[in-house]
């Protein structure tokens, strides 16, 4: 579904990603593992068009998307949930969801999608008139994910969905992600909570200093002594 080949991304003169290649097959959840600053968020930004790669290709559903602006990439079916949720704080919950369905093709299905979202996340229905700013951390993350679903994507990029949340809430966020996964969406996730994230995924990539160091199935990651020691803490 998503195929990345030899991607090189720079911030000015600083190179953040080196010849990075990665694949997300239809309906699968893929997680990237790696330390802070290793380029995982950069990767997501380069896919969603917030950053322009200097070279390499990003192919989505057989079509090159690496030189499209962000708003056209959403149109093609990739939703990016940025780190921290990045909600529109002064808009209500419902308005946030409405902006999520800004795309022409999503607008016509707004009511149906909204109903679906409220079924998945009933708390958002209760809070729909509240400003996004007044939500708790977990609710914000939920709204951010829900907002991205409003665009009716095929692939969801999740950047650290559990970051900054209390441990009790983290489990709930992973439950939301699981709910989305069983709906059939493909997910590419960056996550520090490697143990929980691996449980949800089929495949994983280890990214360090902007390079892929290992790729494999969930099982191969769970059994890798280095991954266990450095990222799972067993």
């Amino acid at each position: 579904m998503l195929e990345i080949q030899n991607l090189n991304v720079y911030y000015g003169e600083f190179q953040a990603l080196f010849n990075l290649s990665l694949r997300v097959p239809e309906g699968e959840t893929v997680i990237t593992v790696g330390p802070n600053g290793s380029g995982k968020s950069t990767l997501l930004k380069a896919i969603s068009g917030l950053l322009l790669p200097r070279s390499g290709t990003v192919t989505f559903l057989g079509e090159r998307i690496d030189h499209l602006p962000a708003h056209e990439i959403v149109e093609r079916g990739i939703a990016h949930v940025p780190e921290g949720g990045r909600l529109f704080a002064n808009l209500t919950v419902l308005e946030n969801l409405k902006v999520g369905s800004y795309l022409k093709r999503a607008r016509s299905e707004f009511s149906a999608t909204l109903k679906e979202i409220y079924r998945l996340f009933p708390i958002l229905d209760e809070r729909k008139k509240q400003l996004a700013d007044t939500l708790s951390g977990g609710e914000r993350q939920m709204l951010s994910i829900a907002r991205s679903l409003m665009s009716r994507p095929k692939l969801i990029l999740l950047d650290e969905p559990s970051s900054g949340l209390a441990p009790r809430i983290v489990s709930r966020v992973f439950e939301f992600v699981h709910q989305i996964k069983v709906q059939g969406y493909a997910i590419l996730m960056v996550e520090q909570n490697v143990r929980k994230a691996l449980q949800l995924s089929e495949r994983a990539y280890l990214i360090e200093s902007g390079r892929v160091h290992k790729e494999g199935t969930r099982q191969s990651f769970l059994e890798d002594p280095y991954i266990k020691k450095a990222y799972i803490g067993l």
């Binding site: 969603s48 068009g49 917030l50 602006p69 962000a70 708003h71 959403v74 149109e75 939703a79 990016h80 940025p82 990045r86 909600l87 529109f88 704080a89 002064n90 808009l91 308005e95 409405k98 902006v99 999520g100 800004y102 795309l103 999503a106 607008r107 907002r147 991205s148 665009s151």
Partner: protein, 290 residues
């Protein structure tokens, strides 16, 4: 004396309505395009010349001239976006360069107006009746301007809150990258915002035309007042700007009666400086941590 004061306060409130609209336009552009439109009053001036040209030189009915001025000024807004603001955004110009560019634009517009229409006062010369409540006299033209401005503000409020386009404008103002990830094309929204901002200068020009005669330096003090109101209310805060407009309207109007119009302008600036010193975020502004 009390009559004089009552009249001044009344006029201040009526002027405040139009100033609120003016400040709203400048605030909207600042919130979305992140540019301080220092030539905003000059655009109103340009709009008044458009009304004058159509109504007096081309002998059109005044109402028709005012209506035509709206889209014309909307187009001026779009032209400013493509000729002045886009190059600044593309070059990632720093705020000082942006300010200088817009300040330069005021000089260009003022001198262009002087070349085209001359330095004399130009007015459409219509007299609307005076109405009075007891000893308070009100010009109908001021009353039309006041209610017209409030109605326009209401329309803008509904547009920003009830339509997808309005929602897109508000989201871009809050978080550009997040808005892009929702499929919103920033460039299209910038153009829309500048078109709306331009349209508003046309609306204000239409309301001002029966009240004031225009001259090439007419816009300067209105740019200043709009800017003071925006800062007074808190940059990006629409309600604060609304309240600020009436404060500035009444203060300048009352002090103009008690002293002179020059002192009134000075007083507006003194209020401005005092607010900056005591409450830099403005009356209703929120401190930004980032």
């Amino acid at each position: 004396m009390t009559e004089l004061l009552l009249n001044a306060i009344m006029n201040g409130i009526l002027l405040g309505g139009v100033l609120a609209l003016l400040a709203f336009g400048m605030n909207l552009i600042f919130g979305v395009v992140k540019i301080i439109h220092l030539a905003y009053g000059q655009c109103v001036m340009l709009g008044m010349y458009v009304v004058y040209t159509l109504a007096v030189l081309m002998k059109m009915p005044v109402i028709l001239a005012c209506i035509i001025a709206l889209p014309v000024m909307g187009i001026v807004g779009v032209l400013l976006q493509s000729l002045v603001i886009n190059p600044l955004l593309k070059a990632k110009a720093n705020p000082l360069t942006q300010l200088l560019a817009l300040a330069g634009l005021t000089i260009v517009i003022e001198n262009m107006a002087q070349v085209v229409w001359g330095a004399d006062l130009r007015g459409i010369n219509i007299q609307l009746p005076l109405i009075h409540f007891g000893n308070v006299y009100i010009r109908t033209s001021n009353l039309i301007a006041f209610f017209g401005a409030l109605l326009t503000l209401l329309g803008l409020y509904l547009f920003l809150n009830r339509t997808y386009l309005g929602l897109a404008i508000r989201s871009i103002a809050q978080d550009l990258d997040s808005a892009r990830l929702m499929g919103i094309n920033p460039r299209a929204i910038y153009y829309t915002t500048m078109a709306i901002g331009g349209l508003l200068t046309g609306v204000i020009a239409a309301f001002f035309s029966p009240i004031y005669a225009v001259h090439p330096h007419f816009g300067g003090s209105f740019t200043l007042m709009a800017f003071i109101i925006v800062v007074l209310g808190g940059m990006g805060n629409m309600l604060g700007g609304f309240i600020g407009a009436f404060i500035i309207g009444v203060v300048t109007s009352v002090s103009a009666v008690l002293t002179s119009t020059e002192i009134a302008d000075i007083l507006a600036l003194v209020i401005f400086i005092a607010v900056i010193l005591v409450r830099p975020q403005g009356l209703l502004g929120i401190k930004v941590s980032k």
